[in-house]
């Protein structure tokens, strides 16, 4: 899909077979079940899926900020710039968080500390990652960041409750970008915002990314946002990537029945249709995933083969991945 980093033989961000589980109340939640992803500098990968598919867990695993109680990374590797983050000691990892990798959260209403001024919250991340001998003034940098995201620097000493939702999300972005990260994890950054504000925020993120050549992992459930922002797309279902390719491949030739279903379920903005085509049934219970393909109970094409064992990834010649053993039959039916 994308050319390899010439310095190492690995892509800039390379996730291999990541497995994450939660244990709660004696039950094991299989949140992420062997996810592999890669992303180059300056590119954007869209991670699409529904609630509970494991999108946020992947982002938090990269940063290693999963909750201490119950969550466990059970396997896999996360390489950034050739370094396996999962093997770094906590002290080293702390230097990476907020500096090399930073994250934008879904809900700007709760993502900021209500009893600290927004300026302090931005300055804090700058101060934490000052290199020895670096003469940057964190307060000045924080004011600069506020201006960059379109907030007057005079509002430095105001508290989050004095800002609107869109403005808060700008502050969150300022925190995330204050140290010029190489990788930005954006977890549904505009879901909580109104559409006109969403457009502003998406634009802001795109501008800043272009300026600093930041790679971005964009987590969303909104196909429209993916179409606008991403280069590559990974569709995730029940903790597994079911389809992975460039934006054009996935949008023009969706192959996995889940992706096809997802597109069918969205009301089309350009065509009139009497009825939508929902996907039957419900997402599976992550404590008790079905055998074989996790989507098989809802899949109109499923056969016994699908329910037997784990499904392999099928790759077309141009590098379009699909985790489905019935690709050919589906391609025939869908035309």
């Amino acid at each position: 899909m994308a050319e390899k980093n010439p310095n190492t033989d690995r892509p800039f961000l390379d996730i291999k077979d990541l497995v994450v589980e939660y244990v709660s109340d004696g039950e094991t939640v299989h949140a992420v079940n062997g996810v592999s992803l890669h992303l180059e500098r300056g590119k954007t990968l869209g991670l699409v899926g529904e609630t509970g598919a494991g999108k946020t867990t992947i982002a938090k695993s990269i940063l290693r900020i999963l909750p201490d109680v119950g969550a466990k990374i059970c396997g896999g590797e996360v390489h950034l710039d050739g370094e396996n983050l999962l093997e770094l000691p906590e002290v080293e990892m702390r230097k990476i968080r907020g500096n090399k990798i930073s994250m934008i959260f879904q809900d700007p209403m709760t993502a900021l500390n209500p009893v600290q001024t927004v300026g302090d919250q931005i300055a804090e991340v700058v101060r934490l990652h000052l290199e020895h001998g670096d003469r940057t003034d964190p307060v000045e940098r924080a004011k600069e960041m506020l201006e960059i995201v379109g907030i007057p620097a005079e509002r430095f000493s105001e508290y989050p409750h004095q800002f609107s939702g869109g403005m808060k999300q700008r502050v969150v972005i300022a925190i995330a970008l204050a140290c010029n990260p190489d990788l930005l994890l954006a977890d549904e950054p505009t879901t909580a915002l109104d559409v006109t504000i969403q457009a502003q925020v998406l634009d802001l993120i795109a501008d800043l990314r272009n300026k600093y050549n930041t790679a971005m992992l964009l987590i969303t459930h909104d196909m429209g946002v993916v179409a606008q922002v991403c280069d590559d797309v990974a569709v995730i279902y029940a903790g597994n990537i079911v389809e992975y390719g460039t934006k054009r491949q996935v949008f023009k030739h969706p192959t996995h029945p889940y992706t096809i279903g997802l597109f069918g379920a969205i009301p089309d903005m350009n065509e009139d249709e009497e009825w939508l085509h929902p996907i039957d049934g419900l997402p599976p219970d992550p404590t008790n995933l079905p055998q074989g393909c996790a989507f098989s109970p809802r899949c109109p094409y499923a056969t016994d083969e699908c329910r037997k064992e784990a499904i392999k990834v099928y790759r077309t010649a141009d590098g379009h991945d699909c985790r489905c053993c019935r690709i050919e039959a589906i391609a025939k039916k869908e035309g």
Binding site: G281, P284, D285, N288, P290, P297, R298
Partner: protein
């Protein structure tokens, strides 16, 4: 979970309407401390109820020559200044202490719910007036208020219960009201309005049941608190009077001998502490079991 494409229904849906209660009990049974608490509490209540049959001696049987005996096989907890068997007295004392606690909390919770619901039902000025009256009562530190009321009413079991419950009504009314205000924010209240439920129905069929969990927890804790307070009142001579073997009163009477015979103060105090402790275990367990955040 979904074995078919059409609406899969988990097993427990066939269960009867009791399932809410059963769920709480299941949660509770996972909590070791709470189960210990319930077990000890049941034993205590049985011991207190059956005291006349179990107690080795009459609680008021004096045996002056045998006064101040230290614990032995004959007198498990020793004897007091009159030679009365402390073990028997502690057993009998449980009857007063536990029933004072339960009765007072029952009365104050029921009255608190009434006051709180009336305030919630009428709202507006009525609510305002009730809350301001509660403000006045709550401006007096609780213990002081109960001391004053107990002293006005004079000593005795019933009077103690009244003093204790009057003193705790404002807190429970206020708690119910706060809970109702919080619960009223939920859309199901608007939904009930839209299907023409009367105000009465909304409060008693929807709001109250949803406010009960914290009330149950706080009542359990309240019984514990009240047992201590009741003992405190007897201790300063305002509650149940000696020679009635109430735990606080026993402590009060034993005070003057504590230098020579510390066992006189140890056992009644332990009895209070143990009862309060296990009630707190149960209350904590109930809080966790009823916590809606743990549902699902």
């Amino acid at each position: 979970m979904p074995e078919t494409k059409t609406a899969p229904a988990p097993q427990q849906h066939k269960a009867k309407k009791k399932s809410e209660f059963m769920r709480v009990m299941r949660q509770l049974s996972k909590n070791k401390l709470a189960m210990i608490g319930i077990a000890v509490l049941i034993i205590e209540i049985l011991l207190a109820a059956l005291a006349p049959w179990i107690a080795p001696y009459e609680y008021d049987k004096m045996d002056i020559p045998n006064a101040f005996a230290t614990p032995s096989a004959e007198h498990l907890f020793g004897t007091d200044d009159m030679g009365r068997d402390i073990f028997s007295r502690v057993l009998y004392g449980g009857r007063y202490s536990i029933s004072t606690g339960i009765l007072a909390v029952l009365i104050s919770t029921v009255l608190g719910i009434c006051v709180g619901s009336v305030a919630g039902y009428f709202g507006g000025q009525v609510d305002n007036i009730i809350m301001r009256l509660l403000d006045i009562i709550q401006a007096i530190p609780g213990m002081l208020l109960m001391i004053v009321i107990a002293s006005v009413l004079g000593p005795g079991f019933i009077n103690t219960v009244i003093a204790l419950s009057v003193g705790s009504i404002p807190a429970s009314a206020r708690m119910l009201r706060a809970q109702m205000l919080k619960e009223r924010e939920n859309e199901y209240i608007e939904a009930s309005q839209s299907i023409n439920c009367s105000k009465f129905r909304i409060i008693f069929s929807h709001l109250l049941p949803n406010c009960m969990s914290p009330m149950i927890v706080s009542s359990t804790m309240g019984v514990a608190q009240t047992i201590t307070t009741a003992a405190g009142l007897s201790f300063i001579g305002l509650g149940v009077q000696p020679p009635t073997p109430e735990w606080g009163a026993m402590l009060s009477a034993a005070r003057q001998f504590m230098r020579q015979a510390p066992h006189l103060i140890i056992f009644p105090g332990l009895a209070i502490a143990l009862t309060v402790l296990v009630l707190n275990f149960v209350g904590d367990g109930l809080r966790d079991a009823l916590d809606p955040k743990l549902k699902n």
